[in-house]
């Protein structure tokens, strides 16, 4: 036994105060504390306190909605690193990407992750939609969340598409040329839509800055907002669970 009783140690009390100020509850050793943990923690309160056992079986959701969200976060973080090096100018962009690949420490792996996670997210979001359809999870009261989901799918595609141009290599410029040529075919508004998108008649500096702004600010914000509503609705409509 030490001279001072443990409870009286000012350091322990101080640590306890810091812990208590951050988490507002002890370790979740009982259901009650576990429930309070989920209720009072900002990052966990997105969840209901209790969930149906059948709803969280991996075989039910296949983790696809969650994985889509996880990839969105991963893309935000890796994208942030890429932004430190990338300048949206047609004179510099390509060299910036080369530098990322060959000069910046871990630049190559970060760029690869950003690329593969973007492809991955298109796939997981699409599969998530398919699982929701096959389980009839879009039926009342979840009709509107399916509509939000459709917008999320579109946002995901546009995010991927706008990012495609940024490396300013042959692949990028010509894929965007082919892609935006499709917009041309809309009756009446087609050519204007394309002009608006490219900020000109060809894929040049005007297009690069537009795609850049859409890719790093506008679309992520729209996507984030839609996700917030999507998750809110999953909570409020209740999660389907078991067929």
């Amino acid at each position: 036994m030490s001279a001072t009783p443990r409870e009286a140690s000012p350091i322990r009390a101080f640590v306890a105060q810091i812990w208590g100020s951050i988490f507002r509850h002890g370790l979740p050793t009982t259901d009650k504390v576990a429930a309070r943990t989920a209720l009072t923690n900002f990052f966990l309160h997105i969840h209901p306190v209790r969930v149906k056992k059948s709803a969280i079986r991996v075989s039910y959701t296949l983790c696809l909605g969650g994985l889509s969200f996880f990839l969105f976060i991963l893309l935000t973080i890796t994208g942030l690193f890429l932004m430190f090096y990338y300048i949206p100018s047609i004179d510099q962009a390509y060299q910036n990407i080369k530098d990322l690949q060959f000069v910046a420490t871990f630049g190559l792996v970060i760029r690869n992750m950003h690329r593969w996670a973007a492809h991955g997210m298109v796939i997981t979001v699409w599969l998530h939609m398919a699982r929701v359809f096959y389980q009839g999870a879009y039926k009342p009261p979840r009709e509107f969340n399916w509509a939000i989901g459709t917008l999320l799918l579109l946002t995901t595609l546009l995010l991927s598409f706008s990012g495609y141009l940024l490396p300013w290599d042959q692949l990028a410029v010509w894929a965007i040329t082919v892609g935006t040529n499709m917009a041309k075919y809309a009756p009446l508004v087609g050519p204007y839509t394309r002009y608006l998108l490219l900020g000109g008649r060809t894929v040049a500096q005007g297009a690069l800055i537009r795609f850049y702004v859409l890719h790093v600010i506008a679309l992520p914000l729209i996507g984030f907002l839609l996700m917030v509503v999507h998750f809110w609705r999953v909570r409020k409509d209740g999660f389907t669970g078991g067929l």
Binding site: R50, V51, M113, W116, F161, V178
Partner: protein, 193 residues
């Protein structure tokens, strides 16, 4: 199994398991007994599904799934480099010029239908129809055996979508013309099996 959540003696005790008998018919005997000294906050009946606390059950699964995804993408990114071709040159058109793979299905449609159909009408229809799906499908059942039409239609759509992307990516080469050799190899160069 009926489960009583919260209330009761409070901390230090996980959900109390109550024999299903009295709870299944609520109008009968009040629930008393050594394990319940105060009324439970929530009483779940046997007919209701069993639940678990989100934290840690669900959060733990989410953490594992996230970890697995991270490890997977890290491994892929260490092994395979993202493509980077020559610097963009508007004077040299690559042949074929392809849209990103998720739009290559649309490009494939453009090969087969007039542009207004393929580039505008079809995509608009798919998006609008998709948003309206829950309002058009009046069938309340979620069981697969009751939803044969819906499931068939969606499966056809999904197969077409995947097929067009696969065709565009793997079977279209110069001038976006059909080309078996990308997959099967050149018969003149390798001996046929």
């Amino acid at each position: 199994m009926a489960t009583v959540v919260g209330g009761g003696n409070g901390e230090g005790r996980r959900a109390v398991q109550v024999p299903p008998g009295p709870l299944a018919r609520p109008s009968q005997r009040p629930v008393t007994g050594p394990e319940l000294t105060s009324p439970p906050l929530v009483v779940r009946r046997r007919e209701e599904e069993e639940t678990v606390v989100t934290f840690p059950h669900l959060v733990w699964k989410e953490f594992l799934a996230g970890l697995a995804a991270f490890v997977f993408f890290m491994a892929v990114s260490i092994q395979i480099n993202a493509p980077l071709l020559q610097r963009a040159n508007t004077a040299i058109t690559p042949n074929p010029a392809k849209a990103p793979w998720y739009f290559v299905g649309l490009q494939e449609l453009l090969e087969r239908f007039p542009p207004v159909m393929a580039g505008v009408a079809f995509p608009t229809f798919v998006i609008v129809f998709m948003i309206l799906t829950p309002y058009l499908d009046r069938n309340p059942s979620r069981r697969p055996q009751d939803r044969k039409v819906a499931i068939t239609l969606f499966t056809i759509y999904a197969c077409l979508a995947v097929a067009f992307v696969v065709i565009g990516v793997f079977f279209r080469s110069l001038a976006f013309n059909w080309d078996w050799t990308m997959i099967l190899g050149h018969p003149g160069l390798s001996s046929p099996v």
